[in-house]
């Protein structure tokens, strides 16, 4: 698999993701935020494809964009957004929040720039064409217990959510 126009796609997709991310946290209407989030998720799926992780990209599209976001949209339609739209959108700790976030950002940038030697610049030869198969071998071999615990997590999630949402149970 030869990569094609990597630079263009990287800047395009990461730009898309970041702009969508900014829209998510600034939109007044939660539905618009959700749509922006979907865009960010899809852009990120593109980034996964670039990173030779097609299976994760597929999972991202099916689960995140097609599953979790539907859940979000349903909930937004369930709660009356009209009222919340008219209210003040940002709380009083926005100064603190932005300061904390900026500090965090500076920290990240420092780590990435100063600690360049932290990450080896080699690229593992990832088998793109048999990505799913390799993942299967690892998921059901090395990560067997994690995988089984994931099912427990899901069980708890079902029970929790249904109990929480269904009053007359």
């Amino acid at each position: 698999m030869q990569p094609v126009a990597t630079t263009f796609f990287f800047y395009f997709l990461s730009g898309l993701t970041l702009v969508a991310g900014i829209l998510v946290i600034t939109r007044r209407n939660p539905v618009h935020s959700a749509l922006a989030l979907i865009l960010a998720l899809l852009g990120q799926a593109g980034l996964y494809l670039m990173l030779y992780a097609p299976f994760v990209a597929g999972v991202q599209i099916i689960l995140y964009a097609g599953g979790i976001m539907v859940l979000f949209l349903f909930v937004i339609m369930l709660v009356n957004i009209e009222k919340s739209q008219k209210e003040e959108q940002f709380n009083k700790q926005w100064v603190v929040g932005i300061l904390a976030a900026v500090a965090l950002g500076v920290l990240f940038v420092l780590v990435y720039t100063k600690g360049k030697s932290l990450f080896p610049e080699r690229v593992a030869q990832l088998p793109e064409q048999s990505n799913t198969q390799e993942i299967a071998v690892m998921l059901y071999g090395n990560y067997m217990f994690t995988f089984e615990i994931a099912s427990l997590l899901l069980l708890v999630a079902i029970i929790g959510a249904v109990v929480m949402a269904k009053k007359r149970i």
Binding site: L78, N80, K167, R168
Partner: protein, 381 residues
């Protein structure tokens, strides 16, 4: 320059708790499935119906008031416009009421013609009901079958009296027209044609799993409620009450014929469907008997030129395709009725809607409106 946008005046609803999230939605008057211009205000909880309110009157033409300003003869065509899919029955009821008021009786041949036409009309009405009801539930094909076969009935009407829908077939005191040449033959041919067709409709629906699921247990109404609300016709019979005016108080020539009154047990939509299908078969039986035994003789009784019934009042009812169709006529001795009050079956049956759809789903409202077989012309008059 006017601003094309406008703003709804939003009503501030008291409480919007999720569990009591009542949603008010209009179904009708311009809705594909309310059989005309019925407006039903639905109070919904998600898909569940919490209550309904019928708003009628979009087709009100003041038929009863018009009667007070027309002579008895002149009013006769107006009644055709009430239940326009069963115009013959309306005319029959009206003519018989006035005849009763006048104390005349139509000659036997006229009575037989009346029975034949009324039963053909019942068939036509039930066919239209079946087609639209099935269409409402999503089966689009029966509609075209039933309309194809109804067409044959309308052809007979057209040949007999020149009109297809609002026939104005009868006059006070009998019939105006003698049967046309080959009437008997054509009716017999029609009977042969339509008998297998009813089986065809049943084949499409009766054992269709989705149809059964959509209709069984939907819109159930008990015999007690039916009687309390005055519901009549197939809806009443499907609840298990054997009440058919053709049997109970025979009018026209119904006493001469041998037929069954089909009844259901549970009073749900499926039973009403079965009852009506069986009624169609019984109608065919009646028509076959009538066509065989139709007597010769005059078709018009001796009725004065100017109809001036004696002072008095009369209530006469017949079994229209949709239920009991009654006329209450008060005469003050003049040429015009003092008051005409119609008891339309659709109007009375529509009352049961709220009872039948409560706690059911939105889709059931459609099924129930369909199964009640209402005609808005008759509801609003």
């Amino acid at each position: 320059m006017t601003d094309p946008t406008f703003h709804l005046e939003l009503q501030e609803h008291e409480k919007t708790f999720l569990d009591s999230n009542e949603l008010i939605i209009n179904m009708g008057p311009q809705h594909p499935a309310t059989h005309g211009v019925l407006r039903v205000i639905l109070k919904l909880d998600g898909e569940k119906v919490l209550g309904t309110e019928c708003v009628i009157g979009y087709l009100h033409r003041g038929v009863e008031k018009i009667a007070e300003h027309r002579t008895y003869t002149m009013f006769n065509p107006y009644v055709d416009r009430m239940d326009y899919v069963a115009a013959v029955s309306n005319g029959l009821g009206y003519c018989e009421s006035v005849e009763k008021l006048l104390n005349v009786e139509a000659p036997p041949r006229a009575k037989y013609i009346r029975v034949i036409l009324a039963e053909l009309n019942r068939l036509a009405s039930h066919m239209l009901w079946l087609g639209t009801h099935a269409l409402d539930i999503g089966a689009i094909t029966p509609l075209f079958y039933t309309f194809r076969d109804r067409e044959e009935i309308l052809k007979i009407f057209e040949k007999y009296c020149g009109a297809r829908l609002t026939t104005h077939a009868f006059r006070i005191g009998g019939c105006l027209y003698e049967t046309y040449e080959g009437f008997e033959r054509e009716v017999k041919k029609f009977l042969e044609f339509v008998t297998p067709k009813i089986g065809e409709y049943e084949e499409l629906l009766t054992t269709n799993r989705i149809w059964v699921e959509r209709t069984k247990g939907v819109g159930t109404i008990s015999a007690k409620d039916c009687i309390a609300l005055g519901v009549t016709g197939p809806v009443l019979r499907a609840s298990g009450v054997k009440w058919d005016i053709r049997k109970a108080q025979p009018y026209a020539a119904y006493a001469d014929f041998d037929f069954e009154v089909p009844i259901g047990q549970s009073g749900d939509t499926y039973d009403r469907y079965i009852v009506r299908m069986e009624e169609m078969r019984q109608s065919l039986r009646i028509i076959a008997q009538a066509i065989d035994r139709i007597p010769e003789g005059p078709i018009m009784a001796r009725v004065p030129k100017v109809i001036k019934p004696p002072v008095g009042e009369i209530y006469h009812s017949i079994e229209a395709p949709k239920g009991e169709l009654g006329y209450f006529i008060v005469s003050d001795g003049s040429t015009q009725p003092y008051r005409v009050r119609v008891r339309p079956p659709s109007f009375v049956n529509l009352q049961a809607l709220d009872l039948m759809v409560r706690d059911q789903l939105v889709a059931d409202v459609i099924a129930v409106i369909g199964t009640l077989d209402i005609v808005l012309g008759e509801v609003d008059r």
